[in-house]
Subunit: 193 residues, 2 copies
């Protein structure tokens, strides 16, 4: 997605050979128009895939995912990073280690919101080592649903997330693929959409 | 907002005299169309208020807030509940105790994303005791910005959040005001919008 690549080049900050900061338009401040365009782009790609639900992981996947879900005319399910007082009943959980935050958490899904009839598109902001996406895919499958694909805004293609997901049979569609990061330098390779 | 009241009556679950579960359309599964309508409703109310940024608190405020921001033509800023590797530089923080989750966390704002020129609309899903909204308002003011109002999807009017915010000079605009909760019973009073 050219407009996302351009935005990363103009505002993204390569802090090291592995950390790309896009806090001015995705992760902390959010550009709603860009999120809308991203949602429309994923929805156009998956429009004939009989998606019944979009699933994302809190926090930064929510804005692009809600536009994707709206454009596809389906509900969004947000996987929670911790249990709360109002998560009750039959919940599925899996432990995730976050590369970015250096923490681990329990990814949680109330079984009521994903059923065996569902065909799911997973959306997330970053794909690095694939921990979060793998955990999300596992929860969706534990709920009995099938997965149409995993839509990623920014893939760090020099990390193992994509190959790990593909090895497990998941289709990965990334809007931007970063082939190389170095302090102050960002290089792209051909993206999927 | 009649459509939100109706949805709460049909799908909301009063789990006790203080906990209202709306996980099937706001907090866990999300209805994008309803979020869009909520965003348009807040934007119509605040359209002449010279808003320059919408600010919300992760997680459940994001979906309605991104539609509000888009309709107003301004960026959204998401206050983070913890620091991450990519939050760097000049950050403002305040400690919040969450009633719903029974936990406390550091609410964080990178100073770069809210400036003294900003006039801010704060959006959040629930208003109970006002801890989160008060913390958000303090961070925005510490950054030097002014606050046009605090837009709430569901206010629990029998708790002290609203009076606390109003006592501190904030304008509160709630789409739905719940006057009473009891197990299996939800009552409303006149809302602001």
């Amino acid at each position: 997605m050219k407009s996302l690549e351009d935005r990363i080049l103009s505002e993204g900050k390569a802090l090291s050979d592995s950390v790309l900061k896009v806090n001015s338009f995705i992760n902390h401040m959010v550009d709603p128009k860009l999120m809308h365009e991203i949602g429309d782009t994923f929805a156009a790609y998956y429009k004939d895939s009989s998606i019944t639900k979009v699933v994302t992981i809190e926090v930064s996947g929510i804005a692009p995912a809600v536009y994707t879900a709206e454009a596809l005319g389906v509900p969004l399910v947000i996987l929670k990073k911790q249990t709360s007082k109002t998560l009750s009943g039959d919940v599925l959980q899996t432990n995730i280690t976050s590369f970015t935050k250096g923490t681990s958490y329990e990814l949680t899904l109330e079984r009521a919101y994903v059923s065996p009839e569902d065909h799911v598109l997973i959306i997330d902001d970053f794909l690095a080592n694939g921990e979060a996406a793998t955990g999300a895919a596992c929860l969706v499958q534990e709920a009995g649903a099938s997965i149409a694909g995993i839509g990623i805004l920014i893939e760090k293609s020099f990390q193992r997330g994509r190959s790990r997901l593909e090895k497990n049979g998941y289709k990965v569609t990334s809007l931007v693929r970063v082939s190389k990061l170095a302090k102050g330098k960002i290089e792209f390779m051909q993206a999927d959409i």
